[in-house]
């Protein structure tokens, strides 16, 4: 069964990292065979939200959920059950303590090779 790990970062403590620059421990975890895919996102300031207002498309600068912590990345993992996914999340969280990880079961997923 697949789970999505949504990693939320705290902008104050999360160091700016450039592409390719990743915590070596986290990079190693992401190499594992049970990790189906992952992506890192640009900071929340770069977000544009598309919504509907008065039946017209409305564009807003910034993320949809306005909170201090921002969605910084997404990892899809394969696990036997929730405990398996939670264990992986805990491992990642311990490597980078500034991150909180929301674990959600995946309903459906398509993955077109990168």
């Amino acid at each position: 069964m697949k789970y999505a790990l949504l990693a939320y970062s705290d902008p104050d403590s999360a160091r700016e990292r450039r592409p390719g620059e990743m915590h070596p421990g986290i990079a190693a975890v992401l190499e594992r065979p049970n990790v189906s895919g992952w992506m890192r996102l640009q900071p929340a300031e770069s977000a544009t939200t598309v919504s509907l207002a008065a039946r017209k498309t409305l564009l807003t600068d910034g993320p949809f959920v306005d909170s201090k912590e921002f969605l910084g990345g997404l990892i899809v993992v394969e696990a036997d059950n929730l405990d398996g996914a939670l264990a992986l999340a805990a491992e990642l969280q311990e490597l980078d303590l500034t991150v909180a990880i929301e674990v959600r079961p995946v309903l459906e997923q398509v993955h077109r090779g990168a």
Binding site: M1, D80, N81, L82, D83, L86, V103, R104, P105
Partner: protein
């Protein structure tokens, strides 16, 4: 009568069905059908030789019928196909031994990914066999609220695939702690009301845990603790008034339950237990002795303090210290504890102050305690303590 029989079988039957069907709701519906059928047939035809087996087999057959029906209707998924294959290989024998999977079920229900209130409700519903309505009444929430809460938890268990398993060795201690915490919470909820006998429910659950995990010292420790506290239940009130331990009529204590508690305590000690429940049980046991060994009690409270780091334990240790070294030393121990919203902190302080003859301060502390009291007997008790103090000097 039949209801009692059902209560004894419910958790066992449901657990096996959940293990088999992989879904709590489906298992509950099937179990309910089987119990309804039993209520109709057993009084007429007599109870089967193996009631648990009969109930499981009947429920299982009902569930299979239903899955088949739905499968043809909705062209159900592979999973059910697999289940059907599994079924055809197994003989449908009511006398066959079914695995006891209550432990798997309790670890599922008390999974930390569920909200604590859902864990508590679900445990009472699935293992305790209380109806949703009884669970709602026990926690004084509307039926609809409890029903939604339980449904949501069951859906999360299904959708997120919370495992139906006893956790592996490396996480077992913390997960067992979570289970014991739920059981103890149910017990303590039982002290307040008397709506549904939650204390008795918690004791039943703990007995099952001790039976299922005979090597876990803390499970035995918790059972001993609850048995001891509960054994004094009949003596805690006299004509609706709270009666302190020293003034309780010991003939009202449940001797059989105290004996069971002591046996359980021995067992926990033999397992080299040293956890917080066992220590609390040992303290409770010392409190039931005719002459209380305050030195020993103080030592155990100190150990409990080290284990839990809880300031509430410090208040209890102060009570023991007051007996050994007097109220002045005990009062000093209470200084600066962050417990302003804790009733017993204030009532204990008030008692020390009263014994030191500092009546004005005692009055203020009792008054604060009374503000925090949640039940009428507590309020009246504090009221009577206030009245026993010398009245404030005229003009004050």
């Amino acid at each position: 009568m039949l209801e009692d029989v059902f209560r004894d079988h419910w958790g066992r039957v449901l657990a096996t069905l959940v293990g088999f069907l992989g879904d709590i709701e489906l298992a509950e519906d099937a179990a309910q059908e089987a119990f309804a059928l039993a209520a109709e047939r057993w009084p007429r035809d007599g109870q089967p030789a193996n009631p648990t087996g009969w109930l499981i087999t009947t429920a299982r057959n009902r569930a299979i019928d239903r899955i088949r029906r739905e499968r043809t209707l909705l062209a159900k998924t592979e999973q059910l196909e697999r289940e059907r294959r599994d079924l055809s290989q197994e003989p449908m024998d009511a006398t066959a031994a079914f695995p006891d999977e209550r432990l798997e079920l309790i670890f599922t229900c008390c999974h930390p990914a569920l909200a604590l209130e859902a864990q508590v409700g679900l445990t009472l519903r699935t293992l305790g066999g209380l109806s949703t309505e009884e669970v709602a009444r026990a926690f004084i929430v509307p039926f609809e609220t409890m029903s939604k809460r339980l449904a949501r938890a069951k859906h999360k268990i299904r959708d997120a695939n919370i495992p139906f398993a006893v956790p592996p060795e490396h996480v077992l201690p913390e997960r067992l702690d979570a289970v014991l915490a739920v059981v103890y919470l149910i017990f303590n909820e039982g002290w307040g009301g008397g709506r549904v006998d939650l204390a008795a429910e918690a004791i039943r659950l703990a007995r099952s845990l001790v039976e299922l995990m005979p090597d876990e010292a803390e499970a035995a420790g918790l059972l001993a603790l609850m048995l001891l506290n509960d054994s004094r239940r009949a003596a805690r009130f006299r004509g609706g008034e709270l009666v302190l331990l020293d003034e309780q009529d010991r003939s009202l204590w449940d001797e059989a339950q105290i004996a069971e508690a002591r046996q359980t305590l021995e067992r926990s000690l033999a397992l080299r237990g040293a956890g917080p429940y066992l220590v609390q049980a040992a303290i409770a046991d010392l409190h039931t002795q005719e002459r209380r060994d305050w030195d020993q009690i103080a030592v155990l409270y100190r150990r409990l303090e080290a284990l839990t780091g809880s300031p509430i334990v410090t208040v209890n240790r102060a009570v023991a210290l007051a007996e050994i070294e007097g109220p002045a030393a005990a009062l000093a121990l209470l200084d600066d504890l962050p417990l302003d919203s804790y009733l017993y902190f204030h009532s204990t302080r008030a008692d020390f102050l009263r014994r030191l003859g500092r009546d004005e301060e005692a009055r203020a502390a009792y008054a604060r305690a009374r503000q925090l009291a949640e039940t009428e007997p507590e309020r009246r008790f504090l009221e009577s303590r206030l009245n026993d103090l010398t009245p404030p000097a005229a003009g004050c």
